[in-house]
């Protein structure tokens, strides 16, 4: 008898042309929190899909409680006690919390109708176990993002799951919510006999709550069930990317007494921004920090003319401008926006690499009678796509078939090609592997050194502190603080957090 609840031995999974997993092992101890790490494309998601019955392995065996199993559908895995909590929410937003929790097994009364009292009572039981103060009758869409995440976990528990797979559970949570989540996870492991597989790109979190680590690289084990106490951040990164991590710091002397390039003066918006004042110098990276819902992305969208500005002025080189649309921003004022949501707003997933990378430059490239062919676009965007090292079989590849990191590179490349003076960059590295992440960081710094002025929105504190020259903190659609970044993590993070919690 081993004390593993889940054991995968020598798993190999082939896809046409690719070996996604090559003799990979994964062993999950009972009552432990086990980190599964790896770059995008290392085989993490394939492994998870094998555990949850979405794929079947070509070779290798899967043991659950020492019994060999093979799941032919996610449903079978779920019935065997394995639940996944995905990055994307799996709750029905217009249903109540109770209905969502009990969805697969809604209690019925004598007439065969749903018994809402029992729904509330049963679901309350699970919410209580998690010490969640949520009324089961609340409609899901009224909850905060953090609470939705917790409800997902409650739903998994209600299915009597003994193994929880959490895929990037903190990507949209504030530091405080993350703390609460971790406390809860520790308690679940201790009290409910649950074992947890934790997938995250944030290594700080791994060190905070995980007991053991398995790292995949190119489908193979870079390490297997290593005790977290034997590792440090550098070692872990080396395991993941196969080389040492380069620490990037922006080293620049910005003269903050310079003239403002872009100046927002007492902006009030339709969305609820109150008296926003901020300015951007030439070549500066101005960070906008805040929790989810602080109104940062919304502010940028108002500046781009997508939502209404009710009062206040926008000055560009000390001249008042009125931006009516993103088209206006791009063509008249050379301002671009890299969206945080690359799948919905950044890219046209069903179109190919060339038309995604070229979309911002079509207008400039068109010849007489609006003539434009692929070759003209290719000549313009190719240097940028090459510079960003986008990995794609060809320019005709459909973007949805590329990895997240490569997709993000394309949504950056199209703005590089457009040659804007000012770039708004919104959460550039969400869900991106370390290699691409540090690559994008270098790129952002390089851009600013070449004179592009950047407003950077990120919820990733280390990212903010390594990139920004100056950090503006926002809360509840207001600016609550401004600090010149000295790149010291401890000082800056405490200064920012005190701004937020004042």
């Amino acid at each position: 008898m081993s004390d593993y609840i889940l054991e995968l031995n020598n798993i190999t999974k082939n896809f046409p042309g690719v070996k996604a997993l090559d003799n990979a092992n994964f062993k999950l101890k009972k009552k432990s929190i086990h980190a599964l790490l790896g770059e995008n494309g290392a085989g993490k998601s394939t492994l998870i899909k094998i555990i949850t019955g979405v794929y079947n392995q070509n070779e290798g065996k899967l043991f659950l409680n020492n019994q060999e199993k093979s799941f032919s559908s996610p449903n079978e895995a779920m019935n065997a006690g394995i639940s996944v909590v995905h990055q994307e929410r799996n709750l029905i937003r217009r249903f109540s919390v109770g209905e969502n929790l009990m969805l697969t097994n809604l209690p019925k009364n004598n007439l065969g109708l749903i018994d809402y009292n029992t729904v509330a009572k049963e679901s309350k039981k699970w919410l209580d176990i998690m010490e969640l103060d949520i009324d089961p009758n609340t409609i899901v869409s009224d909850l905060t993002v953090a609470k939705m995440q917790l409800c997902e976990i409650a739903k998994a528990l209600s299915l009597e799951s003994k193994i929880l797979l959490l895929d990037e559970p903190t990507s949209s949570l504030s530091p405080q919510d993350t703390k609460n989540l971790f406390a809860l996870l520790k308690r679940l492991v201790a009290e409910q006999n649950v074992s947890i597989v934790f997938v995250s790109h944030k290594l700080e979190e791994v060190f905070e709550i995980c007991d053991e680590v398995t790292v995949l690289r190119d489908g193979k084990n870079a390490c297997e069930s290593e005790q977290i106490t034997n590792l440090n951040r550098q070692k872990l990164v080396k395991l993941m990317i196969g080389r040492d991590e380069q620490i990037i710091k922006s080293k620049k002397d910005i003269d903050f007494t310079d003239e403002n390039l872009l100046d927002l003066q007492s902006i009030n918006t339709d969305l609820g921004h109150k008296n926003i004042n901020l300015n951007l110098k030439k070549g500066e990276i101005l960070g906008l920090y805040g929790l989810v819902g602080a109104g940062r992305t919304e502010l940028i969208k108002c500046v781009l003319g997508l939502d209404k500005i009710n009062s206040g002025q926008i000055l560009l080189n000390n001249k008042e401008i009125k931006i009516k649309s993103p088209k206006d921003a791009l063509e008249k004022y050379k301002i671009g926006y890299i969206s945080e949501d690359r799948k919905k707003e950044g890219l046209i997933l069903m179109h190919d690499v060339l038309s995604n990378a070229g979309i911002t430059v079509w207008s400039n490239l068109k010849k007489i009678l609006s003539f434009l062919n692929d070759n003209i676009v290719y000549n313009k965007v190719d240097p940028y796509v090459k510079q960003l090292e986008v990995k794609t079989p060809s320019y005709q590849q459909i973007v949805s078939n590329l990895s997240g990191g490569n997709q993000q590179k394309i949504s950056v490349a199209k703005w590089l090609a457009s040659g804007t003076d000012i770039l708004f960059i919104d959460e550039p590295t969400v869900g991106i592997d370390i290699k691409t992440k540090s690559y994008l960081h270098e790129l952002i710094i390089e851009l600013s050194l070449k004179g592009t002025s950047i407003i950077l929105i990120t919820s990733d504190m280390p990212e903010m502190i390594s990139l920004a020259d100056r950090i503006i903190t926002m809360k509840d659609f207001k600016v609550v603080g401004e600090t010149i970044n000295n790149h010291s993590y401890e000082e800056m993070s405490s200064s920012i957090m005190s701004n937020i919690h004042e």
């Binding site: 042309g17 791009l330 068109k366 609006s370 434009l372």
Partner: protein, 328 residues
């Protein structure tokens, strides 16, 4: 994988081409007169119109919307043309320009209302269908224009290529090439497709999505008006009921051609030549079934079944063949 198979074979158009050939074979052997000069000429006149109205629908489907007012709009434009020529004595060439401008204007109304209200074009064009047709009936008092210039009606009954082909078909095929060119080789065409595929991303990339959607509706109106002129030339008169009540007769082929052709109902993909092949297939089936003499109701029954099948195909296509090129 499968690198040895040329890409064209994997496309939807290739499947359609095979189907077209299969149906031609079936009808040639099973009916008398399918390959006769008379029948082929008649087919070419019908297919010309089906292609045009298929294209008119296609350019709105591109936006993820649809244009139910297509038939009413086309007939209204044609009646306007009849009035210009018969009552006002305006020369043919100028009339055609006026009619196309008028059609584009009606299309502009569709687009403008859709974009400004944010209501789905289904509702908007359902309303304008009734408005255009009602207005046209009111103004013309449901009377036809039958005394059109001879040069105009003669063109409609001209026979080319050893008397096999109507010049109308040549207009439609030329239109296909022009549209293909626009979508493949112009800045504006690319923007139309991008706006249709993902309006949010297109807007944030500096494309005026509203304007693009209005252009699509205008283009739809333009093509529907062109179809109206062609129909007028074909029957030698402008008749209010020539596309059925409210222009309904046009709707089935209008949907069938692009959907069979591989245009995605959710928008963002056009298949100009697919639509052409789709229209040919529809016309063939229509014509063949009449020749087999199965009766009017069965023809409608089959076309309905084909449309349902094509829509199922559309769903499947969203999963599998989005991988093909965007303009084809």
């Amino acid at each position: 994988m499968n690198n040895k198979i040329p890409n064209f074979v994997k496309t939807n158009q290739f499947g359609l081409l095979i189907l077209v050939i299969v149906f031609i074979c079936i009808f040639s052997f099973s009916t008398d007169g399918f390959t006769s000069r008379f029948n082929i000429y008649a087919l070419s006149r019908v297919v010309a119109l089906d292609i045009m109205i298929g294209l008119a629908m296609m350019v709105v489907i591109l936006t993820g919307g649809l244009n139910l007012s297509l038939g009413a709009l086309g007939v209204s434009a044609a009646m306007f043309g009849g009035w210009c020529m018969e009552s006002m004595g305006i020369p043919i060439s100028i009339t055609i320009i006026l009619v196309l401008a008028f059609g584009s204007f009606l299309g502009w109304i569709n687009g403008f209302v859709t974009v400004r209200t944010g209501v789905h074009s289904f509702i908007v064009t359902l309303a304008t269908m009734s408005i255009y047709f009602g207005f046209m009936t009111l103004l013309t008092e449901a009377e036809a224009f039958r005394k059109l210039p001879e040069a105009f009606t003669n063109f409609g009954s001209l026979k080319l290529f050893n008397k096999y082909i109507s010049p109308l078909l040549i207009i439609s095929v030329l239109t296909c090439f022009v549209l293909y060119y626009i979508f493949k080789y112009t800045d504006i065409g690319r923007k139309l497709i991008a706006a249709g595929a993902n309006p949010d991303a297109a807007e944030l990339s500096g494309i005026s999505v509203d304007r693009m959607f209005i252009y699509c509706h205008m283009l739809s109106g333009f093509l529907a008006a062109l179809a109206g002129i062609m129909l007028t030339a074909r029957i030698g008169a402008a008749i209010p009921s020539m596309a059925g009540h409210l222009g309904f007769d046009w709707l089935l082929p209008a949907f069938l051609a692009p959907v069979l052709g591989g245009t995605l109902l959710s928008g963002g993909k056009v298949t100009v030549f697919g639509t052409m092949l789709g229209a040919i297939l529809v016309t063939l089936i229509n014509n063949g079934l009449y020749l087999i003499d199965v009766g009017e109701f069965w023809v409608r029954f089959f076309l309905g079944i084909i449309l349902l099948g094509a829509v199922l195909l559309d769903r499947a296509r969203e999963y599998f063949t989005v991988k093909n090129s965007i303009v084809s």
